[in-house]
Symmetry: C3
Subunit: 275 residues, 3 copies
């Protein structure tokens, strides 16, 4: 592994990271993919360190991914269940976090529906803050695991040139998919009222679901991504979800590696490195 160039105290979002930062995270994550393929999937890099999962929204997948990542680094992991916490007793977010901080954790992983809440924490917190999703704003470890998945996908896609990333908006699925290297579907968040924006699931599926026929328009070695959990036969037809082009589960695996990398780069001991 080349020398660390990661100089961040927190991971709040992608937009403030340099290309070097991102490359360091992805290279470190690749080393942790190797660790996760071992029979003993554990390194002592965060031994004696405390990581707190402070989730104000249910997200079992993301929470568990951080929990496994922390434990594989030998950290102590505390799930601070906010739904039964002091917030119900009238405590402010700031006081909750200051209280947690007084317990001397090293890293606080926060998920909160309010955009910018992780940034707010850094104005007073001493721990490293990791944003595990702040509403409609950022979810940086998701973005990083997506990048890792794309990078280790078909060779023709490596390396992704992040600095040149741009987007073209298309309201026509066929036009959007045509010649694409990566097709990434997002979840219809029925629990956030998303289904009010279209007449019926059937209508949505007919117009937007990725079918084999639709995916055939993409480039020959294209990959299909989705952050999960998927709604089968809503966003993605089952045959495509389970196809070889689907890297949806690889994204989950990479999520552990990226989160291990982030926790390690923020608070790991350099001398207890990976080899």
């Amino acid at each position: 592994m080349k020398e660390r160039t990661f100089r961040q105290d927190h991971l709040l979002g992608i937009e403030h990271l340099s290309v070097d930062d991102i490359e360091t995270i992805l290279e470190t994550a690749e080393a942790f993919i190797e660790v996760s393929s071992r029979d003993v999937k554990k390194v002592p890099a965060l031994k004696g360190k405390t990581v707190v999962n402070l989730f104000f929204e249910n997200s079992t997948r993301t929470r568990s991914s951080f929990e496994i990542a922390a434990k594989r680094l030998s950290a102590d992991l505390i799930n601070f269940n906010s739904s039964v916490s002091s917030l119900k007793k009238g405590e402010t977010l700031k006081d909750t976090v200051l209280t947690l901080e007084a317990m001397n954790p090293h890293i606080i992983v926060i998920r909160h529906s309010a955009s910018g809440s992780p940034h707010y924490l850094t104005t007073f917190a001493r721990s490293s803050i990791v944003n595990a999703g702040d509403g409609f704003h950022e979810h940086p470890t998701q973005a990083l695991l997506d990048a890792l998945t794309i990078q280790i996908g078909p060779p023709s896609l490596v390396p992704v040139e992040f600095e040149k990333l741009g987007a073209t908006v298309s309201y026509d699925m066929r036009g959007g998919v045509k010649n694409a290297d990566v097709v990434m579907m997002l979840r219809v968040q029925a629990e956030r009222g998303a289904s009010n924006y279209f007449p019926s699931i059937r209508e949505y599926r007919n117009r937007f679901a990725i079918s084999r026929e639709l995916f055939a328009l993409a480039s020959k070695r294209a990959i299909l991504m989705h952050p999960g959990p998927i709604n089968r036969d809503v966003e993605i037809e089952t045959s495509m979800a389970d196809s070889e082009q689907s890297v949806i589960l690889q994204q989950v695996t990479n999520g552990i590696a990226v989160r291990m990398a982030v926790l390690y780069l923020l608070k790991g001991e350099v001398h207890e490195t990976l080899n």
Copy 2:
């Protein structure tokens, strides 16, 4: 400990186990009873391995028993709380488990009300699946801890000859208990509507509860078992529940040992054995 003859990838139920398999589990469990009696109750047999508790029904006792068993083997234990999980977001059981699997756990302990759900998981899962109760169907670690409890009970009962096991149905409590070596009561599962099947708790107690007088009909060294939690003075009168013939708490202790044995036999390192 004699050489391991356990060759199962999963523990789904009792019916497919050979006598050798069962004896191996029980002998291994006996070794772990010794570990649990030590002051430092921990062995490194599953160090670096990840065990997931995937419970779709509340069963704090069984879940905690697996959690303690896993931790005493030095495994990392993740409680995946299904009630707040992606299933609520429309994800299928298969996708939930595939997602979990992509995090590379070694063992998934599943409790689900649908009969056969653990068997279904093995059709696509790479981890070892342990059935922690699939509705009215099987609950194999309960059966094994019962067997362990009977085996280490009064010497006259050792060894239990599993291959000859049969059952006689009796609707007469006195006839059923008479000369029995083991009296095992089950819980009236009021939360599953069981109380609709009889007129009142008082009526049930009068006809079926194990009293001192009733138990006196059993063989001289008989033991009284119950999987817990008990409803005092419904299935068992308090004086009998707390009597010397009751091995109800011994069953709980043996539950840890049996679960350690199962986790160890499925994924433990042979060279890091118990002595």
Copy 3:
């Protein structure tokens, strides 16, 4: 550290502790404050020991504090979530605890709304029982962390002479605060119906909240304490809560140290001591 003089099997309350016991706990806690200031905040004193958090009331802060304390001592910590436990299935408190005990934990930390419930447990339990709050009765680790905070506060207050403690009741805030060395506010427990005892929050604040002006009546080096979670601008005005005289967060930090001390003194290995 001077030789241990702690000879208690349980920690049920403060009233039965000797001055020696209390001094031993506080001195041990001071040593653990040092451990918590290290980069690797972990000692092996409870390795292989199992600590159970048995909470019948929500108290995320206290539960997490015990969890962190146990993990920093290398214990295995099991959160036994009573709200989904067997109590709902009709099991008695005694049977729940006997069942837990059959899993061979070393320490059970219990929070229960019924006064005296931890004392009741000691009449049949073999584990060490730690009272983490029994309703309106005792919450000894809170008292001890308060004592620790006062002791390490301004030098003029050291040592607190516990044996001479007495109280003067005052219904006049100005009279109560005047010349005080320590001002300790308690929380208005709206969730226990406390707000029925006064006409409005505004009224309460006007009459009782600690303002800068009010606190100026206290002694020159006075400290302001509160067990948390605080209701800002109800019990304490924000400017005072965040002032240098406020030691509210220090209380949280000391809570970890005191709980480590209690767990260690009850079940720690003497030879694996702190240096």
